[in-house]
Amino acid sequence: MGEPVVRAPAFHVEYILRLGDSSLILAQRLAQWCGHGPMLEEDIAMTNVSLDLVGQARLLLSHAGALEGLGRSEDDLAYQRDEPEFRNWTMVELPNGTGPHDDYAVSIARNLMVSALSVPLWQALCESSDKHLGAIAAKSVKEARAHLRHAAEWMIRFGDGTAVSHARAQSALDHLWPYANEWWDTDTLEREAVQAGLGPSLASLRSTWSESIDAVLAQATLKRPTDSPFVSTGKLGLHSEHMGYLLAQMQSLARRHPGASW
């Protein structure tokens, strides 16, 4: 998609890395359901959502690499960076369960929370002053809507299902809820991006997000968790204890065989 090599300001590159890394790391988490889904259709659904996110991540990381002007490709950014260089939100790196076993309710609750944000985010990014980012957004918003629909339907089925599925859905929601605070905590980088017309602050999407979530929770007979003061810091490169393991798995092949292709 031949872009000229012009070094963009650091905030521009970082703003896109936050989006690209969040897509990539969630894709990696969801791909862990491949072959382990609770039923065949859902195994396929989760990996399809993952594939969409990989596609978005590839476009975003390629773009970030071009803007950075250091000659780094999408693969260099995905496979050759260490943990503190990743800018994804902490929420997406958390495991697919809260205990020793994976729990589909956790993945569904996270997909609901993330896609309820992604839809208005991509929608706003269609108007970005960065035309290439706008083009990526125009495609991604279509995919995010499908992800939101998938997650919402399952959240309702779980919440308004059996006593066990209800309890697990509520506990997944309670577990993930504090990690949304990272989105609403606007920092200097985001303010610079807003100023440059690059895109919105996530905090400005909070009421839209809340409406989407509340509509689903009402039908799911689930309780909206109370807000807490905890703020995670993945977007600053300070990650949870789970991130290192995830990267080790994701990067081991590329690091062991640098430059390998097939």
Partner: protein, 180 residues
């Protein structure tokens, strides 16, 4: 840009590229799917512009190679295949001929008007649909018996672009090419 009619090589390249089959659904061509955006000259090169369907569609790379190979095989050299994201591909761009071929192949073609945000998510309208999919109200129809008495089995199917449905009249499962 030279107009196609004045340039037989360009015309040939356009036809060849347009006739390359989709690697996942070989019954339809790039032309049918609406992913061939343009074929034009830039200096010595012939530039083939394609637009990807889903961002993560693994067929995109294969399509690029297939176009390159097909043109090289026909002796059209100096070809560059480029991808363009904008304007974003829509399933509305599938030609009537392409839709017919999908149906005959056993894949229900997508409902039209995907661009009009009809699938903006049930959330926007405040109603999350539960066991009856939204498409049930407007399409698809069973590609075998044309019945509209259908049910959705899964929103995601064998490729990113398809969902899995079942016909309640003839009981056959079928793929539905999702509106995008």
């Amino acid at each position: 840009m030279v107009s196609v009619s004045d340039d037989p090589v360009l015309e040939q390249a356009r036809v060849l590229a347009g006739n390359v089959p989709d690697p996942e659904i070989p019954v339809v061509t790039l032309q049918d799917l609406g992913i061939l955006r343009s074929v034009h000259r830039e200096g010595e090169h012939i530039v083939v512009m394609l637009t990807p369907t889903y961002t993560g569609c693994p067929a995109t790379e294969v399509i690029r190679e297939d176009v390159q190979r097909t043109l090289a095989h026909a002796g059209v050299s100096d070809v560059q295949v480029r991808l363009t994201l904008s304007p974003p591909w829509s399933s509305d761009w599938i030609s009537p001929h392409g839709r017919q071929k999908l149906r005959e192949y056993g894949i229900a073609p997508p409902a039209c008007g995907a661009d009009a945000d009809q699938h903006a998510g049930a959330l926007a309208s405040g109603s999350v649909l539960r066991f009856m999919p939204r498409e049930a109200l407007t399409g698809p129809a069973c590609p075998r018996c044309d019945s509209i008495r259908i049910e959705r089995i899964s929103q995601y199917g064998s490729t990113p672009c398809k969902a899995l449905y079942r016909c309640l009249a003839c009981r056959e499962p079928f793929d539905y090419f999702k509106p995008y």
